[in-house]
Amino acid sequence: MTATRSFGRRSQPMANFPPSDGSMQAHEPRDEGARPASGVEQSDLELVRRAQRGERGAFDLLVLRYQHKVVKLVARLLRDRTEAEDVAQEAFVKAYRALGSFRGDSAFYTWLYRIAVNTARNTLASRQRRPLQYEAGLSESEQSAVESRMRHTDTPEAQALSGEIHQTVNRAIGELPEDLRTAIILREVEGLSYEEIAAAMDCPVGTVRSRIFRARDAIDRILAPLVDESRE
């Protein structure tokens, strides 16, 4: 997935104005007495702090990181692939608006998922309230938006691409040298930290970092043409 917009512009520091629809009601859970924050959580927190200071690029990286997770979560809740991206987008916008109120008591992704779940719930509730809409009743712009979403998410081509991406990545991993394959699986599938992987593989942390990068780079060399091709 790629971001096509320019990240160059910076905005002012965030204001704290949570949305009023109940999706943000003081629901930052506390990890009381919990495990220490993982590297990803600390990294997220660092990006959040930067976004709170007005670095929009930092927030965009959080979107890049969590886009698939949030879309997947929302799609499962709504059981509607077409609507999932709209709701996921709404969740990200709400998160951005409320970022000023995020204190870091919980992991960022926990907070973000909660917003996504509440946004999806609101959508489900409003879906029950509103009558069925037929395309004939939509304005031209609404019709165009629906068609655009259909084009992006719900076509057989899009689903096939998704399947192809899975196959390509798994094939690429299968072709990696054993030390790279082990490192990337321990990281991506098992979620171990570099230190834990280093202990498991009996090598320095720096080597783990390098192996994981080389594994990703090898996968990317196969994945990039597929992603580029689908964009054309």
């Binding site: 910076r10 990006l47 990545v169 994981i212």
Partner: protein
């Protein structure tokens, strides 16, 4: 794009990049679209490994979110979060208040029976109109027919207590200065 930077991106995704390197990399990512694409593909690959068959965000999803966030940020100026709301609400209220002050001035002066009432009312109304014209433009700032009608009704109701000569002078002057107001006043008089 060097291996070192891509390795930093990989470490950033895993939350393993030293804190002092994060800032520089984030700024580099802001500037470099290719690096962001690499970041996005690394994330995509990880997602594909973890959940085969799960729905992935479509091409362009991030761009749409960023555009929405950008639009949102533009709509709400962070340094003065409630300013747009305040001005949106206050513009018609201010305009109505200025117009009402003109009407009140006219009504009060009518009571004195001065021949200058019309001129004073006219001048006040012109000042009000100038002030209104200097306000930021926007749909919401336009006085609605309801505002004009309410103002006209106010004038009509209060003019009943003014003497006839002064009332005619001030009233006709105010109405003559604003055809819309005259029409609204006429309609309010005609209304049951």
């Amino acid at each position: 794009m060097t291996d070192r930077i891509r390795e930093q991106i990989s470490a950033l995704i895993d939350g393993e990049l030293p804190e002092d390197e994060v800032g520089l990399l984030v700024r580099r990512l802001e500037r470099d679209a290719q690096l962001r694409e690499t970041f996005g593909r690394y994330v995509l690959a990880g997602e594909a490994v973890r959940s085969p068959g799960g729905q992935l965000a479509s091409q362009g999803f991030v761009a749409r979110v960023c555009a929405a966030v950008e639009g949102d940020a533009a709509a709400v100026q962070p340094n003065d979060a409630d300013a747009p709301t305040r001005s949106r609400w206050n513009r018609p209220a201010l305009a109505t208040a200025i117009a009402a002050s003109a009407a009140i001035a006219a009504v009060l002066l009518v009571g004195r029976g001065s021949n200058q009432v019309g001129q004073i009312a006219q001048a006040t109304l012109e000042r009000a109109r100038d002030s209104f014209a200097s306000l930021p433009l926007g749909q919401a700032s336009s006085p609605t027919p309801a505002h004009s009608q309410r103002l006209a009704g106010y004038l009509v109701a209060h003019s009943q207590f003014a003497n006839t000569l002064g009332r005619r002078t001030a009233w006709s002057s105010v109405l003559a200065s604003d055809p819309g107001l005259a029409r609204a006043a006429y309609e309010s008089l005609e209304a049951p």
